[in-house]
């Protein structure tokens, strides 16, 4: 087959032209001096507003909490559609051969450590780099790794993950409604700010991040489990 067809050639020319244009733009861009309007006021007032040391967490959960809820629902919709599309598919007879000694020992060794690291990153999301999304991905690995060792029936494990996911997603909304009915805006942090830099500080932000972490972890792992069980032929 003719690999370098006309279409490929024109794609190459287009990409090169795009590269030249973007290079011309990048020469004029102000590096390290981009205008920073919202950011400056967030850096100035973030601690007074939310009590969180990590300002990214303050932006994600306090200033843009509603956006984070939307993001979670997009992830939920994606996971739901993946499950829906794959239920029609034939389930694999034996998805993977049982893991050998090395793999199974490593997984049994790693799983508790992954849980510890994941929860550490989630709990300290308002103090140090990290948070619910980052720790949630690590938790997803902790949920998913045992599947690489021994094959479990899809249903029972899936129900557990679905339970975690719905409780976490529900509690995120319940916390938001709580502040709405106590006379504030939806998802506005409450419970006071606490002592700056303590684990129990920044009001509801750590609680929200725990909900986010559990939701992301269970959702991503059920995505991976669904894809693992789909037959590929």
């Amino acid at each position: 087959m003719n690999r370098w067809s006309l279409a490929n050639f024109s794609a190459l020319i287009f990409a090169l032209g795009l590269a030249v244009l973007l290079f011309a733009v990048s020469v004029q861009l102000p590096l390290a001096n981009a205008p920073m309007l919202v950011g400056n006021s967030i850096i100035a007032q973030g601690v007074a507003d939310t009590g969180a040391a990590n300002l990214v967490t303050a932006v994600v959960l306090a200033y843009r909490g509603l956006d984070t809820l939307g993001e979670l629902s997009i992830l939920f919709a994606a996971a739901g559609v993946v499950g829906l599309l794959l239920t029609g598919a034939k389930a694999a007879q034996s998805p993977l051969p049982a893991g050998g000694f090395v793999v199974s020992s490593a997984v049994h060794l790693l799983t508790p450590l992954l849980f510890v690291v994941g929860f550490y990153i989630i709990f300290h999301g308002h103090l140090t780099p990290g948070g619910g999304f980052q720790g949630g991905v690590i938790l997803a690995m902790a949920f998913f790794l045992p599947y690489l060792v021994d094959y479990k029936p899809l249903q029972q494990e899936h129900q557990r993950l679905t339970l975690i996911e719905s409780v976490a997603g529900g509690s995120f909304i319940v916390i938001g409604l709580f502040s709405l009915f106590s006379g504030q805006a939806f998802l506005q942090p409450f419970l006071g700010h606490g002592a700056f830099g303590n684990l129990w500080s920044a009001g509801t932000l750590p609680l929200l991040y725990i909900a986010v972490g559990l939701k992301v972890g269970s959702e991503l792992s059920s995505l991976l489990i669904n894809l693992l069980h789909a037959e590929d032929e």
């Binding site: 190459l12 287009f14 973030g46 040391a53 300002l55 794959l86 894809l227």
Partner: protein, 152 residues
């Protein structure tokens, strides 16, 4: 003469824009559905890198306040970082969805080549609606060969 700051600027923006260009070229030139998804992921990471770069300050620290008393130094913009966090998570959702669709198409048509998939889909659609299937001069050799073996 290129100063150090300029060299760093070209490196950083070159990295971000380079990933974007590689992704666009991949989307245009590739035919394998899974490779198209990979090109999309590369394009996405280029865009994310560019967004993070827009909040970068010279000598800037991570936007984490260490103490309320001491005056903090220059900090990077936290807003693009939070936006990119959102974009990455949504990107994962989109990728998983695309991967599932690719998996289903593979199960149905036993191929990942977009040209073959397109021809087979057109054939399926015209069969469903009972209209004559017009074969294009671009249709891959395998499909026309398969059609001839059907006749035989």
């Amino acid at each position: 003469m290129v100063s150090d700051a300029q060299a760093v600027q070209w490196l950083l923006y070159g990295g971000a824009f380079g990933l974007v260009v590689i992704g666009v070229f991949g989307l245009l030139a590739l035919n394998n559905a899974f490779r198209l998804l990979l090109a999309l992921i590369i394009l996405e990471s280029g865009a994310n890198l560019l967004l993070v770069l827009s909040g970068f300050r010279e000598q800037g620290m991570a936007p984490i306040i260490l103490s309320t008393q001491a005056q903090a130094g220059i900090m990077n913009d936290p807003v693009p970082q939070a936006l990119v966090l959102t974009a990455i998570v949504i990107g994962v959702g989109v990728q998983a969805l695309a991967l599932t669709l690719i998996l289903r198409v593979k199960q149905r048509y036993q191929t990942l080549d977009m040209r073959q998939i397109k021809a087979l889909m057109e054939k399926d659609i015209s069969e469903q609606h009972q209209v004559a299937h017009l074969s294009s001069y671009e249709s891959p050799a395998q499909i026309s060969a398969g059609r001839e073996s059907d006749k035989a």
